[in-house]
Each structure stands twice: as C-alpha cells, then as structure tokens.
C-alpha cells in the first residue's frame, strides 16, 4: 500500500468515526469537542490505533482549524459590538481576568512548571468557550433572557483579550524574554487598534474587495485573506490565530454574513481535525497522573467563574436566579484553552501541560452545560426561594 492510499484510509476512517461521534453528541445534547478529543486520544501516540501516514495531514489541518475557528469568531462579532461590550462590561472583564487567570497561574507555579507555563495555564483557565456557551444558551432557550447580553459581552471581552494575550504568550514560549514579549504586545496592540479603527470607519472598503453573492470567489478569497494575514502575523510573532480573528472583525455587512455561511462547513471540518490532532499528540497514559490536579483546578476555576458571572449579573441589576444562571453558564472552557495549550506544547514547554489541558477541558466542557441547567432544577429554585424568604423574614423580625 502506498503512502497516499494509507492516508486516504486513515483520514477517511477517522472522519467517518468523527461524524458518528458528532451525531452521538447531538443526540446527547452535548458539545462534540470532548468526543473529538477522546477520539484523538484513542488513536495516535499511545492509543489503540496508531496512525502513521496521516499525522502530517492532521498537523497541517489543525493549524488551518485554529485559523478558521478564530476567523469565524471574528466574523460573528462586528467592530461596533466589540467596542460597546468593552465600554459596558469593562469592570466585569477585569474581574473575570483576575479571578480566573490567577488560580491557573498559581497552580502552574505550585506544580513547579515555571513562570512561562504559569502564563499559559492562566490563559487556559481564564477563557470560557464561546462556542460551547452559545450552544448551551440556544439549547436551553435562554437567548431571550435578560442576563444573556451580560454573558455574551464577557465572552466578547475574553475573545478580544486573546488578541493581546496570544502574541505575548507566543513571544514568551519562543524564549524571547521580557523585551521581545513587550515588543510583541506593543505590535499586537497597535495592529488590533488599527484593524478596529479600519473596521469601524472603513469596514466597507475592506469588504468591497469581495463579491458577497458569489459563493465560490467569496470562499476562496476570504479563506485566502485569512490564511495570508494569519501567516504574516505569525511571521512577526503576533500569533496566526490573532491575525485570523482580526480579519474576521474587519469584514462586515453582507460579506461577513455570507462568508460565515460558506466557511462554516470548512470550519466544522478543520476544527474537528484540530481537536483530534491535539488528542493524537497527547498520550493517554500521561493523563492519569494529572487527573487529580486537573480536577482540583477545574473545581476551583469553575467556582471562580460562577462567582465572576454572579457578580457581573448583580452589577447589571439582575435578580438572584439570573445571577446564578450567568455564573453557571460561563463555566465551560473549550477551544481557546486547547489553542493556548497547543501553542505551549508546540514550543516544547512543560510536557505535562497537554495532558493537563486535555483533562481540564474534558471536565469543564462536560460539567459546564450540566451546571448551566442547575438553576432550573426544582430543588435549586426552592433553595433560592427559601433563602429569599429567610432574609425577608429576618428584616420583618428586626
């Protein structure tokens, strides 16, 4: 059997399996991300089915996957939404960053992984998964809820913050040191501001180079521009993912809407490849020793996330049930945590980081959507009501 035949067989079999897993996930009403990761773990390094010919394909595919994940995320937001969210939920965003990133950093230091790994783990525990949360909100019919804009703007701020965080991390993991890290940050800030300015003031000009009603040229053109900018961004150490995100933001109007439609099947394919590849390069045997630390980390950072959401919803003036809903909904971590871990691992940082991130994401992404349902449980509502009447009673007694 030639190399290319083997490639077809391996990729085909794996994709077929992923298709079945995605169907199962849909049936169970959960995100397919944990199943993709598990599939990756089961194959490849230390798994049951070692892959030989297709590793390179999955490696390249996973890079395109990251670019598409971020590019599509950028397409979902308009520049105006980013600016408004930033203005309205700045405080919530800062509290979110402090409460969720610091436990991750402290954890890495306690594990003795050094300061650079601490920055990476901080990012892993900080960012909630916009993809999983948007799906949870839709599934639980909560898009109409009043606290939903609060949840979404925290996600927007986290995603935007990644545009500054990822360049710093990529500079740090390359061993560039503080000066290069600072330069990367300055470059990133400048680039993000320029793109935001262009998108806000001249969004039509950038979009004008594409014909929104010609799917073929739109697909090739937008994908090309996204990969080109991602590559250029990588070249100047500003992380390919961030470049893709910014292209997504810069496109607007009908072009953005139609590009989302033509690119989403590609995104689904390559994002699946990305999660599988991360599982492939992680040896399942390495997960066993980090399961307990990962569970502790997940428990702590899910609690801090709940607190963050509770506080943000309280500050926005919502009632107690809405505060709990906001908190619990924000708990799942997902694609970004894996992107960050991938960045750290590819640079050869702490070998235990990949299994830790895998276990951590698996736990939060499975527990998060279940927790999000908690405020609807009868006993939970009853408990809230009892507490509410309890305090009211105390006021009267006084």
């Amino acid at each position: 059997m030639t190399e290319s035949t083997l490639l077809l067989i391996e990729v085909g079999a794996l994709l077929l399996g992923l298709g079945m897993l995605a169907r199962l996930a849909n049936r169970l009403g959960i995100s397919p991300i944990p199943l993709y990761l598990a599939a990756g773990l089961a194959c490849g390094d230390g798994g049951f089915v070692p892959l030989t010919a297709s590793t390179e394909f999955f490696e390249t595919g996973s890079e395109i996957g990251v670019i598409l994940l971020l590019g599509m995320l950028g397409l979902e937001y308009t520049a105006t939404e980013l600016v408004t969210s930033l203005r309205q939920s700045r405080t919530a965003g800062l509290i979110d960053a402090a409460l969720n990133a610091l436990p991750g950093a402290a954890f890495a230091l306690l594990m003795g992984w050094g300061p650079i790994a601490a920055v990476a783990v901080a990012g892993i525990t900080w960012v909630s998964s916009s993809g999983v949360i948007a799906k949870v909100l839709r599934d639980l019919k909560r898009l109409g809820n009043r606290e939903t804009p609060t949840i979404l703007s925290i996600l927007v701020i986290e995603d935007l913050a990644m545009a500054f965080y990822l360049p710093i991390l990529s500079a740090l993991v390359l061993g560039a040191g503080i000066v290069a890290g600072a330069t990367a940050l300055v470059v990133a800030v400048a680039v993000v501001l320029v793109i935001l300015y262009l998108a806000l003031r001249h969004g039509r000009v950038i979009s004008a180079i594409f014909a929104p009603n010609h799917p073929e040229s739109l697909l090739l053109g937008v994908l090309g521009l996204t990969m080109l900018v991602a590559g250029l961004a990588q070249q100047v150490n500003v992380s390919a993912a961030v470049g893709a995100f910014l292209v997504g933001i810069a496109l607007s109007g009908q072009v953005a809407k139609n590009a989302q439609q033509v690119l989403s099947p590609l995104r689904d394919l390559f994002a699946a490849v990305f999660f599988v590849f991360f599982g492939l390069v992680t040896n399942p045997a390495d997960i066993v020793p980090v399961i307990v630390p990962a569970a502790v980390l997940a428990l702590v950072t899910m609690a801090t996330k709940v607190y963050t959401g509770y506080r943000a919803a309280a500050a926005a003036g919502f009632g107690v049930p809405a505060r709990w809903r906001t908190g619990f909904t924000l708990t799942p971590r997902g694609e970004f945590s894996i992107v960050i871990a991938g960045l750290a691992v590819s640079a050869g940082l702490e070998p235990q980081l990949a299994p830790l991130a895998t276990a951590y994401v698996l736990i939060t992404v499975l527990a998060g959507p279940l927790l999000a349902r908690l405020p609807e449980a009868l006993w939970f509502r009853r408990m809230l009501r009892r507490r509410a009447t309890g305090t009211a009673g105390a006021v009267i007694a006084r």
């Binding site: 939404e81 408004t84 898009l143 009043r146 606290e147 804009p149 809405a322």
Partner: protein, 164 residues
C-alpha cells in the same frame, strides 16, 4: 400613550427588542442575524428569564404581526361607538348565501339604500380600510359599518338577502 420598548444587542447573535406592558409583563423578540426570529415570554416569578420562547419563520412572524395589527385597528374603529352619539358601529359577516358574495362593494349600493357607511372590510388577517365601490366582496368577510341603529339593521338585511 407611549410604550416602553428596550433594544439590547446580543453580540454574535443579533438583537432583542422587549416590550414592557403597563401591567409590568415583558415580551421579547430575538432577531437573529441569520434571519430567524424568536418570541420570548418572560416569567412572572423570575422576570429576567424567558419562561418560554417560540421560533417563528418569516411568514409566521408576519402573520402574527398582521393579526396584532388588525385587532388594534378593529379596536380603534370600534372606539368610534363611544365617541359619536346616535351613531353605532357594527361588524357584519358576509354570509355564503349573500347575493353580493363574489361581487364588488358598489353592487350593494349600501350607502344609498341604508344611509350607512362601510368603513372597513376585514378579510382573514388583512384589513382593507376605506374600501371603494370597486373593492371585491367575499363570503366570510367582516364588514365594519357605521350608521344609525335602524340603518345598520337594514344593512344586515340587505347583505343577507339583497334589496327588498
């Protein structure tokens, strides 16, 4: 009478418009950027939460808007009843057996024969305000007429069984 309408952005999804009724209930319409629409009814006990939400297609949303619009219009028309003394407003349904079903409004010569004025015709969810003599009539149309009590009675007679 101003109505409180709130507009909220849902980053990455679309917008939500809420109408808050004078009784304090909240109804929300989520407009997805993809064009889907959702109608959300808010909970009484927990005013931040949508107790239920209903997905609406384009045509369903426009049918709902029509019904609401038509019933508001009817309400306003019927309001005349209280304002003008001696005049009454009545809704008459054109029966299948009517000689005018399938014809035009001019055929009835209602104004000359009964001294009443037909101010609107409601057909299903569509309101035809100020119909002309050329406006077609169909069995099942609701005819809204203004006139004296006796004039309206003879109009009902006319629509049912023709003149004389």
């Amino acid at each position: 009478m101003s109505v409180r309408v709130e507009r909220v952005d849902l980053p990455g999804i679309g917008t939500r418009h809420d109408v808050i009724t004078s009784a304090g209930r909240r109804i929300g319409v989520v407009s997805h950027r993809t064009g889907e629409r959702e109608l959300a009814i808010f909970d009484l006990d927990d005013p931040d939460s949508a107790a239920d939400s209903i997905d609406l297609s384009d045509s369903e949303a426009s049918a709902l808007a029509d019904i609401l619009g038509a019933s508001v219009m009817l309400g306003q028309l019927l309001g005349i009843q209280e304002q003008a003394g001696g005049l009454a407003t009545e809704q008459l349904v054109l029966p299948t057996s009517s000689p005018y079903a399938g014809g035009v409004l001019g055929d009835t010569k209602a104004r000359t024969r009964t001294s009443t004025s037909i101010v609107a015709i409601v057909r299903g969810t569509v309101v035809i305000p100020s119909p002309t003599p050329m406006t077609p009539l169909q069995a099942g149309d609701t005819i809204i007429a203004v006139g004296t009590r006796s004039g309206l009675d003879s109009l009902a007679q006319l629509l049912n069984s023709g003149p004389g």
